[in-house]
Every structure is written in C-alpha cells, then in structure tokens.
C-alpha cells in the first residue's frame, strides 16, 4: 500500500470519521440492544476503501482493528484480522460496489459484516470464550446493512464538501 501521508490532504477527515465510529462502537447500550449494535467501524472502513482505494487499504484496516482489540480487551489481533478480511474483499469489489444500487450495497454489507462476525465467532469458540448458542451473533450484520445507506450518504457528503480525494 502507498503510505497514507503520500497525499496529506484530508487524512484527518478519515481519522476523525474512524474515531467517531470507534466511539459509537463502545458507547454503553442496554443489554438487549447490544446484540444489534451496528459495526460502525467496519462500515466506515469499508466506505473509505470503496471511495479511496488508492489511499485506504489493508494496512489502515489492520491498525484500526488492532487498536479496537486493545480498546475492547478482546484477543489481540482478532478484530485486526476480521477488519483486514472485509477490507480485502471490499478492495477487490470496489469497482462493482460503486455501481451497485443501494439495495445491492446493503446486501453486500450484510455479507461482509456477517463474514466478519462469523470469523470472530469461530475464534471465540476456539479459544473457549462466551459465545451465543443461537445465531444472535449475526444480529449486528443486519443492523449494519440497515444503517449502511445513512453512513454512505453522510460520509460521501462529508468527503465531497471537504474535497478529500
């Protein structure tokens, strides 16, 4: 990947959006809502990968995932590999994703976040941590797909009005 500071303009926009997503991701929620918390960080990372594939890539996804691991106290490297995985898929699909209708994009996000949750679920099971007995762990994939259009429109508006490219 080219270094991020190759084009310093607008780097802080990406950083701030990811920071906001991270904060949204750790805001305390009632227990019944937690399962449905959208994966804000994944959505934002996927957005930047689609929008600026030449700037935002696997390295950034990995670093964000690593920080997330420390922040959440989860197994070190778990969020890192999960985020890298979906960033990798998004990087391969970005030209098609841009052409998709909103509904198709949502379906793709459902798959991506579902895959991410599945990977995390596997590792949790393998390391003997608490895992749900049912399919609740993909709950966040559905809400992520639902809020994706909102995230997409907001970030696109932000990116365009600040001329980040």
């Amino acid at each position: 990947m080219p270094p991020l500071n190759g084009q310093p303009k607008g780097f802080w926009v990406i950083a701030v959006s990811i920071l906001l997503a991270v904060i949204l991701g750790i805001i305390p929620l009632p227990e019944w809502l937690q399962v449905w918390r959208p994966e804000w960080v994944s959505l934002v990372v996927v957005y930047w990968v689609i929008a600026l594939p030449h700037r935002v890539g696997l390295m950034l996804a990995w670093i964000v995932g690593f920080l997330l691991d420390v922040l959440e106290g989860s197994l070190l490297g778990l969020n890192a590999i999960a985020l890298t995985l979906i960033a990798y898929i998004a990087l391969n699909l970005y030209q098609r994703l841009r052409m998709f209708t909103p509904l198709q994009q949502c379906a793709t996000i459902l798959m991506l976040v579902g895959l991410q949750q599945l990977l995390i679920f596997w590792v949790h099971t393998a390391t003997g941590q608490n895992t749900p007995r049912n399919l609740m762990f993909v709950g966040s994939a559905f809400t992520s797909a639902l809020v994706w259009p909102l995230v997409f429109v907001l970030l696109r508006y932000w990116r365009r009005s600040l001329h980040v490219s």
């Binding site: 920071l19 991270v22 904060i23 991701g25 750790i26 805001i27 305390p28 227990e31 937690q34 399962v35 918390r37 696997l58 390295m59 990995w62 995932g65 690593f66 920080l67 420390v70 922040l71 959440e72 106290g73 989860s74 197994l75 070190l76 490297g77 778990l78 890192a80 590999i81 890298t84 995985l85 590792v123 949790h124 390391t127 003997g128 941590q129 608490n130 895992t131 749900p132 007995r133 609740m136 762990f137």
Partner: protein, 368 residues
Amino acid sequence: MGLALLSLVLMFADSRSDYMARVRYYVGFVVTPLHYVAELPGRGLDVVGGLFESRNQLQRENARLQEQLLIQQYQLQKLEHLTAENRRLNELLNASTAVKEDVVRVEMVGESPDPFAKRILIGKGSTDGVYIGQAVFDAYGLMGQVVEVAPLTSWVLLITDPQHATPVQINRNGMRAIASGTRDSLHLLNLDNIPNTADVQVGDELVTSGLGERFPAGYKVGVVSSVTNDPGKPFATVVVNPTAQIDRSRNLLLAFDSRIRPVVDGNLEHGPVSADVSPDTGVIVGNPVEGPNATSAAGEPANPQTVPTTEISEAAGTTLPTTPLQDATPQTEVGNSDATAEANNVDEEADNTLVPEPLTVPADEGAN
C-alpha cells in the same frame, strides 16, 4: 497475507502467554481515554436528570439512606463483636489468619462492546495500585476479578463469564464447591460436579471460601435458585443467582488484600499460620457474613451487606492455605465432588493456587 499471518501470530501469543500484556498496557494507555469519551453522553443525561430531580424525591431518598445507614451501623456493631469473638476462638484453635482488607470505591466506566463477553471496565488502573487477580465487589456481593490492567483503567472478568470459576462454600453446611459462569447472556452461575446426593437446597447462600487465594473468604456470591437431579446425568444441575447486581451496579469496590501488601498497622499480632493446622479445623468457624445475615433475615428489606462501610478485619478460619504444601491438603480432603471440580478447572485453580504469584504482580507493576 502478511497482515493475516501477523494477526494469527498475535492471537496465538495472546491466548497462550502473558507476553502480549506489555503491548496491551502501552497501547491501552493511548486508547483507553476513548472509553471516557464514549461514556460522556450517558453521564450528561445523568447530570441533566439530576437537575430535574424534585426536592420531594431527594428528601425521600435522604430518609431512606439514613434509615439504611442506621440499620447497617447496628449490624456493624454486631459484626465487630462477632469478629472479636471469632478471633478469640481462632486463637484458641491456634488457626487464625487474621486478614485486614481495605476496600476502595471505584466506578465502572464501560463494558465490553462484545455483547457476549462478560467483562467490564473500571476507572482505576496500575497508577492506583490495581493488580491482576484483585477481587471486585459491589454492595451486594462478589462481582469478579481484575484480568487486565492499563495505567488508568482495568478490565474485570465477571464471575458469570464461562471462563471464570469461583471457589465457594455453602453458608449453611460449609460444603465447598466451584461456581462457574454460564455460556449465555444471562448472569447465572452453575455449581460444577455436585453429586445428586449432595446436600444442596434451593435458597442456600454461597460465600467465597477463600480457597485458591484469589478472593477473600466469606463474601456473598449467590443464592441457589434451582437444583435439578436428572438420573441420566452423573451430577446435579445447580443454578445459582449471583447476589451482586452484576448487570446494574456502577459503583464497585476494589478489595486490597493486605496479605499481599506490606502490613502497616499492627494487625499481624496473630502471626503466620502454624503449619500443623488440620485442614478441617474451621471450615465454618470464621464467617463474618453469617452474623449480619441472621439479623437481617428477621425483617428489614435493607441490604444486609455491611462490607462496604469500613475495612473489615476478617478472621478467616476457612483453612486459608499459606504454603503450597498446605494448599494441597484441603483439596484432596474435600471428597470426590470437589476433586473432580478441581480437575475440571485446572486452569483456574492452577492459576489461583500459585501462592507467590500475587506477590510478584504488584511488585512488577510498581517497577514500571
């Protein structure tokens, strides 16, 4: 590809060794302030709510708190008497390990965003002297233990997490058991490997047994809520409701155990335990919780736990092992139920029974 490999190596290193704790510690120093930021909206709502609390409400709350204080002070008097009596009895038995515990109030700042991880984040870290393995209580009972320490915050593994096992004993008959967390999002505990014929009844109170050297003895853990004897299964299914308000408490207490810190006051008058204590001398002899429980059962709905108010000198007769050698005796003596339970929780127990370990942890943290 390289990134994936790096992640795998990291995950392996993190789950198999403590080596990554350093990395976490320093990266955590940078990122943990985010938890405080994330907490701000909720805190703001609390503040705004407080502004509109009516005078009437406050007066009622004040009256209720004063009543509670009165009851608890009364119970404390009783407790002091019992503690003294207990110490005398233990001296007679020559089996005393009088331990003075300090508790420090700590606030919860966050919880794990993973809805299935039963972990919470507390607002004190290594700069406040928090160490790994430290017991965390709320006003009603045992909450969990510290598993990860950052400079300003620490992660607490709750007792209801399936990776956690708590050495407990039944208050009524002194039977020892292991209470482990359950694999779902409910906050319940299971008693492991309890024979179908064991004397466990619904409503039995469980307190920490102090075995395992991790938790101080005699604090409330839970109440047995159901006992199922299925003839098709080798052991009874015993479900325990934790007394701590695990999913509600915000104000918690960190127990600083003086056994692993230098004792400043003259509390060591009883000296170390003599090595010839027979393991079953005082299984239920010293139980500071027993007294207040008995009195509160009579009527008041108030919280019977008097623990948080002051430091409590706890004369634990519960065969607190001081040497690894001695530690082996109570466990083999327990009988088949606990022996198998021990085998099941090898990780937990192996971690706990290492006596020198708690000694090294704070020293290590202090050096940094």
